[in-house]
């Protein structure tokens, strides 16, 4: 579903990604872990077609980036630590706007389904700026799944969430993954990543330094694997 070969990203003289190779099979849930400044967000922004690669090849759902970015974007849902929602619009209006931008059919029906999925159907007429951070993040996930994408990218989705909101987000993420979507999530929260993901890749100093499936990881634990990958 996602193929990345020898990906390099430079900002001026600074090289953030130094030849990343990365492959995700359909239906996999990959946790991309790494310290601050490792290049996780840059990598995800390239996958999301928000940033152009300096070198290398990126292919999502059979489409090349950046040449076929519009086709990729139609199959992609992105959730970041920012909600990507308008505070002065209601939950329903936000989803309606994005539904128009994705040219969805049966917009009202789809909005109702998505709001029920993220548990915000009773707050659909409330302005988003009145929502708690957790509710905004749930609605952000609703926005991202609105067009039923094949691939979901989550960039630190737990940032700023309290314990209850994080647990709720866990449930929503499980639902999203259970729908057969391919998921790539960056996170600092190893425990949550361990709970949700089927594969763990460590991005360090602009390269994928280690990769292990859940089955492979059974022999050790994620924290030990993570520390070992960073030390190596």
């Amino acid at each position: 579903m996602i193929t990345v070969k020898k990906l390099v990203k430079r900002f001026g003289l600074k090289t953030v990604l130094r030849g990343v190779d990365f492959e995700v099979q359909p239906g996999e849930f990959v946790a991309l872990l790494g310290p601050n400044g490792a290049g996780k967000t840059t990598f995800l922004r390239i996958l999301a077609s928000l940033s152009r690669p300096s070198l290398g090849e990126v292919k999502i759902a059979g489409y090349h980036l950046p040449q076929q970015a519009a086709q990729v974007r139609a199959r992609l849902g992105v959730v970041s630590h920012l909600p990507l929602l308008y505070g002065d619009l209601t939950a329903e209006e936000n989803l309606r706007f994005y539904a128009r931008m994705y040219n969805l059919a049966n917009i009202e029906e789809r909005i109702t389904e998505v709001l029920e999925m993220v548990g915000l159907d009773t707050r659909k007429r409330d302005l988003v700026r009145t929502f708690s951070r957790g509710m905004q993040q749930r609605l952000a996930i609703g926005r991202a799944v609105l067009h039923d994408p094949d691939v979901m990218l989550f960039d630190e989705p737990y940032t700023g969430l309290d314990q209850d909101a994080s647990s709720m987000l866990d449930d929503v993420l499980r639902t999203v993954a259970a729908q057969g979507r391919t998921v790539v999530m960056t996170s600092h929260d190893l425990a949550r990543a361990e709970d949700l993901a089927t594969r763990f890749d460590i991005l360090s100093r602009g390269l994928i330094s280690a990769s292990a499936s859940r089955r492979e990881l059974k022999k050790t634990n994620l924290l030990a694997f993570y520390k070992q990958a960073l030390a190596g």
Binding site: L89, E93, Y102
Partner: protein
């Protein structure tokens, strides 16, 4: 084809269709109008600023009726230009602060549709402010501004201003110094629009021959077309890292 997974209906295969250019533009304009209707932040800031400027000028330039007519064009365009900068900054800050610009860029639409959507919203807000400022100015300065020719010049000047301003606001909003950067970038670039707009406005207000006003109007139209075409061509590069 609809599927049901874990009790949630999915709309697979509905998503792939790219929305039409006009549909995307309309969606953005409607979203901006809805948000502004709720908050009234952008128009109120522009309006209060504009009214303050013309009131200050009214006290500062205690002039006779003849002199008032000659300074009107300059005062009006100074007011519109500075108020417009406030509006442009605010309009793009709303998109940037909550990551909404990324949300727009993630949609499978032609990115020039985003430019045109934002530009039309900005133009609408600017025209609303101008529609309120003009009668207030007419009363304060005892000058008749409701001349079709002058209104046409204001429309053409506003189109050019917003056309280039939306592009530059999109660039400047991605920097740390966005509040000051837009003014620094915008005014030198938009000067070819403002100068013919002032000359043509002055021409209509002082009732010179139409033939003399046609040249600045022609320049205005030409600059509008050039600026909008350039913005259309480079917007994709401006928004992508």
């Amino acid at each position: 084809m609809n599927n049901t997974v874990y009790g949630i209906k999915t709309t697979k295969k509905d998503f792939a269709a790219k929305p039409s250019f006009l549909r995307a533009v309309f969606a953005i304009v409607w979203k901006d109008i809805q948000a502004e209707y709720r908050s009234f932040e952008l128009i109120s800031a522009m309006l209060v600023f504009s009214l303050l400027v013309i009131i200050i000028f009214n006290f500062a330039l205690n002039l006779d009726i003849k002199m008032r007519e000659t300074v009107t064009a300059g005062v009006l365009w100074t007011t519109f230009a500075f108020a417009g900068t406030l509006g442009l900054n605010r309009s793009m800050s709303v998109e940037k602060d909550r990551g909404c610009l990324d949300g727009l860029l993630l949609a499978p639409v032609d990115r020039s549709a985003i430019y045109f959507g934002k530009a039309i919203s900005n133009l609408t807000f600017m025209l609303v402010v101008e529609a309120i400022v003009l009668p207030v100015y007419s009363i304060l300065y005892n000058t008749n501004l409701f001349q079709p020719g002058l209104l046409l010049v204001i429309l053409l000047g506003s189109i050019g201003y917003v056309g280039v301003g939306t592009l530059l606001a999109t660039m400047s909003v991605q920097t740390r110094t966005r509040d000051i950067l837009l003014s620094i970038l915008l005014f030198p670039v938009v000067l070819p629009v403002l100068l013919p707009a002032i000359i043509a406005s002055n021409g209509f207000l002082t009732r010179v021959e139409l033939a003399e006003i046609m040249f600045p109007i022609g320049l205005l139209i030409a600059y509008d077309i050039i600026f909008i075409s350039v913005a259309f061509m480079v917007f994709d590069n401006v928004v992508e890292e």
